[in-house]
């Protein structure tokens, strides 16, 4: 299966839907800082992998897919739920990339330059997630 870009999707997303994701990300990041200050980096660190985007994303996908089917005069509830479920499966695969990201930062940030480690860890997140996604598709 080929990966492709579909910029038209961005036009479907309404301003308030972007605002919800911005707020969710902002609130969780601010809370992570407060929690780390109050309870220490051990507890605060857990929240670096808090699922901040996913609940809003799957809700949006379900809604958009349902509306697409309904515009065509069909009942879109099943299609919407399936599309959002598939997105969540992708996120589950990606979480192993998130684990690799954390592992790289944990082990390498004390040794190398910070920007190099954060950049490298982001590349590793994408590489691990993509590789596992390809493997799952091939099975």
């Amino acid at each position: 299966m080929r990966v492709s870009l579909n910029p038209a999707v961005l036009k479907k997303t309404k301003f308030h839907e972007y605002a919800i994701r911005f707020l969710a990300g902002g609130i969780v990041t601010a809370l992570t800082g407060i929690i780390a200050k109050k309870f220490g980096p051990g507890i605060g660190g857990l929240f670096l992998a808090f699922p901040a985007i996913l609940p809003a994303s799957i809700t949006l996908i379900e809604k958009h897919e349902r509306q697409k089917k309904e515009r065509a005069g069909l009942h879109g509830a099943v299609r919407g739920r399936k599309a959002a479920g598939i997105d969540a499966t992708g996120a589950a695969i990606g979480s192993l990339g998130l684990f690799a990201f954390a592992l790289v930062v944990w082990r390498l940030v004390p040794i190398y330059k910070s920007w190099m480690v954060l950049g490298g860890a982001t590349v590793i997140w994408m590489a691990v997630a993509y590789l596992l996604w390809r493997i799952r598709k091939a099975l």
Binding site: L10, G25, V28, A91, A92, I93, F99, V109
Partner: protein, 114 residues
């Protein structure tokens, strides 16, 4: 303190939005879903933490983050299962399963790192 919190919120909101927009752009949906577990909060937080608190503090946070990521795997798998097999709507599956994230993340933290 308030300025710092607002700055964190601004940076976090921007990074999370950027990754979620990237995810929206891609097809198929299973690939786009990879961006649902992007290290967006981690990048925003660790970037600021490294600047303000130093490398040791950031490393400790990243160590705990490995457990948070394991909890994320359980969370996303549960959401997917509840929607595909149990036919739960996205809002319900996504919010109820957050309890599972908390249970696994803190359970692992108590078992491994405390």
């Amino acid at each position: 303190m308030l300025k710092q919190i607002l700055f964190r919120a601004l940076v976090g909101g921007s990074v999370v939005s950027a990754f979620s927009m990237l995810g929206d752009l891609f097809e198929p949906k299973s690939f786009a879903g990879l961006f649902g577990s992007a290290p967006s909060i981690a990048l925003a937080t660790l970037g600021l933490t490294l600047f303000a608190e130093g490398k040791g503090y950031a490393s400790t946070e990243a160590c705990s983050m490995t457990l948070g990521a394991a909890a994320f795997l359980v969370y996303a798998s549960a959401v997917s299962g509840l929607m595909m097999r149990r036919k739960w709507p996205a809002k319900l599956a996504g919010s109820v399963s957050l309890l599972l994230w908390f249970a696994v993340a803190f359970g692992l933290w108590f078992a491994v790192l405390r």
